[in-house]
Amino acid sequence: MTELLKKMLRDMLLARAFEERAAEEYAKGNIGGFLHLYPGEEAVGVGVLHAAEPADYVVSTYREHVHALARGLSPGAVMAELFGRKDGCSGGMGGSMHLFDRERRFMGGYAIVGETFPVAIGIAYAIALRELPEAVICFFGDGAVNQGTFHESLNMAALWRLPVLFVCENNHYQIGTEIHRHSAVPEVHKRACAYHVPARRVDGMDVLAVYHASGEALAQVRAGNGPQLLEFETYRFRGHSMADAGHYRPRAEVQAYERRGDPIDVAMAEAGMDEAAAARIPADHVGRLAAQLGRDGHLDEEAFESMKAAVAAEVEAAVAFAENSPEPAMEDARAALDCNRHGEVLL
């Protein structure tokens, strides 16, 4: 467990560093368009995807860089995609919101809220038809549950017992509208009972809790027992996108989440870092860590620092890779569009 925790902590540190660097590159003009960042929510993506098998499929949203990284896409391929370059994981055609990797069964980031549901049940339908022991992980946010596709797709998934794990990243905001202002039933997991889909709410700031809940649910799903839904309560520390400063959130609320603990701090505590070592770590990731420590030091200060240094180097290399990758040409765009034509010449 300690090794797994260290791996998850490392992925979370990579996630945080990658996203913070992406924000810098956006400010420099190297990344364009919409950029939705993940800080605060790392425990969800990392915990869920460490519970997944390589044969499982992942369908994701437009806030999906970290899902892609946790699924094993290289930071270089993801950063190059954010830069719109040819060596990006979508060849520069998709960008931040449309990361794809067929080999890792990363079935895409979808930028229209609510699209992940039908895509996920479609993949699950194929799995069920072929009677394979695989699952589909379908990410969505709290805002997506008011789209018709949520209800339509949960109904079909339950009706035909499709192997889908529905994963709600409930960060309490659909852009600027808080969940009590957008949902009559703000407890997302309660909605699943309308379709007899087993569901529960889990602390999404605690990577171990996320990991265990996902592992249990995925085992049920793969065993052919139908879909499951997990609602992970989390919080994004930044605005909805780079265009959003997040002024609509009360200061007291933001502070409450800060007191509750940064998910990275929680993971460090679970990895067994001792209190004294934690106290010496620079302020950015400490938060409420000290109170949650007290185990015997599996992760010492030195190991943590070297982990952070390795992650920083990886992000640096990813940026260098993206900068050195060429721009795709118009022919590449046409080839992407015609990729399924197999040389057939149209008039």
Binding site: Y57, V59, G88, C89, S90, G91, G92, M93, G94, H98, F100, D101, R102, M107, G108, Y110, I112, E115, F117, P118, V119, A120, I121, G122, I123, A124, Y125, A126, I127, A128, L129, G148, T149, E152, S153, N155, M156, L159, A333, A335, A336, L337, C339, N340, R341, H342, E344, L346, L347
Partner: protein
């Protein structure tokens, strides 16, 4: 198998049956396609033969069951989604336009999209405004989609099978009044390319370019024109994306006159694309300005007379053809 009088729906049914039998990855899904056998009988008998996992009755959830087809196609199934009528496809446009047409592109060419979306459309008999329209103009403007518009049982058989075998997303637009039309079907005959237009009547004086149910009306008009000494060539486009411009241009080089016949309303419709491109490419070949015969700029009324007056008829095609050929419209026959 040869059949001299096959119904259009039977040809579609034969095509689905053949492909379901040939490839285990082919599935059919939609509202009432299974036990019920399809609203226009197109899926009759398939549920009994292939079972509920290959021929799936869905809830009334157009957006999500079309999206289900997209997801299934991503992992190699060949879903044939039936949308009961094109009018309900408005609820599925996100899956068709934003997903099916774009995922292969957005992924940098990583994923197949062997999805077929079949739907009947057009003006039938007093179904009123919400059930009497076509949406080809909306779908034609989407790079990444292909659109087949079979007008005969033979084309229905050929084009549906070609669509199922293609790895690209293809919309097959059928017409509600064609399902019970009859024509020859030779299952063994070799198919032309799916997008090839057909010169279905040769002529020298003008070219009538049309598709779907308007093929039948245009041929009827051409026969009447022949009696009046005008030789009309009729081209059935068979595909609206891409369009077989070469066949159209070859005809214009012969006739120098262009008339486009379409059932849907004129403004920004399929005919506008045909006229614009042919004018760009053959302006100096044309002796007369091109013309369109199209539906009125009105939603379709329930009233039968108003409905009939809202769409082209053989006489309205004849009148337009005579005008282009420099002859006065004939006197109205009682």
């Amino acid at each position: 198998m040869k059949n001299d009088a096959c119904l259009y729906w039977q040809a579609l049914n034969r095509a689905l049956d053949a492909e379901l039998a040939a490839d285990d990855d082919v599935i059919v899904l939609g509202e009432d396609v299974g036990l019920y056998g399809g609203s226009y009988r197109v899926t009759e008998g398939l549920y009994a033969r292939y079972g509920e996992w290959r021929v799936r009755d869905t809830p009334i959830s157009e957006s999500s069951f079309t999206g289900l087809g997209v997801g299934a196609a991503l992992v190699g199934l060949r879903p044939v989604v039936e949308i009961m009528t094109i009018n309900f496809a408005l609820l599925a446009l996100d899956a068709i336009i934003n997903m099916a047409a774009k995922i292969p592109f957005m992924s940098g060419g990583q994923f197949p999209m062997p999805l077929v979306v079949r739907m009947p459309g057009g003006v039938a008999r007093q179904l009123a405004a919400q059930h009497s329209q076509r949406l080809e103009q909306t779908l034609m403007n989407v790079p990444g989609l292909r659109i087949a518009v079979p007008a005969t049982p033979q084309d229905a058989w050929w084009q549906l099978r070609q669509a199922i075998r293609s790895d690209e997303p293809i919309v097959v637009l059928e017409h509600e009044l064609l399902y019970f039309s009859k024509g020859p079907l030779d299952e063994a005959a070799e198919a032309p390319p799916m997008h090839r237009a057909e010169v279905c009547r040769a002529g020298a004086d003008l070219t009538i370019v049309t598709y779907s149910r308007m093929r039948e009306l245009s041929l009827r008009a051409a026969a009447q024109l022949a009696e009046q000494g005008i030789s009309a060539e009729v081209i059935d486009l068979r595909s609206l994306r891409p369009i077989d411009w070469e066949t159209c241009l070859a005809s214009l080089r012969k006739t120098h006159r262009l008339l486009v016949v379409e059932e849907d309303s004129r403004f920004a419709g399929a005919g506008a694309e045909v006229v614009a491109t042919l004018a760009e490419r053959a302006f100096f070949t044309l002796d007369q300005p091109p013309r369109r015969v199209a539906g009125e700029e009105l939603p379709i009324a329930y009233n039968a007379r108003l409905e009939a007056a809202s769409i082209p008829s053989a006489p309205s095609i004849v009148a337009a053809a005579r005008e282009i050929c420099g002859q006065q419209p004939p006197e109205e026959k009682s």
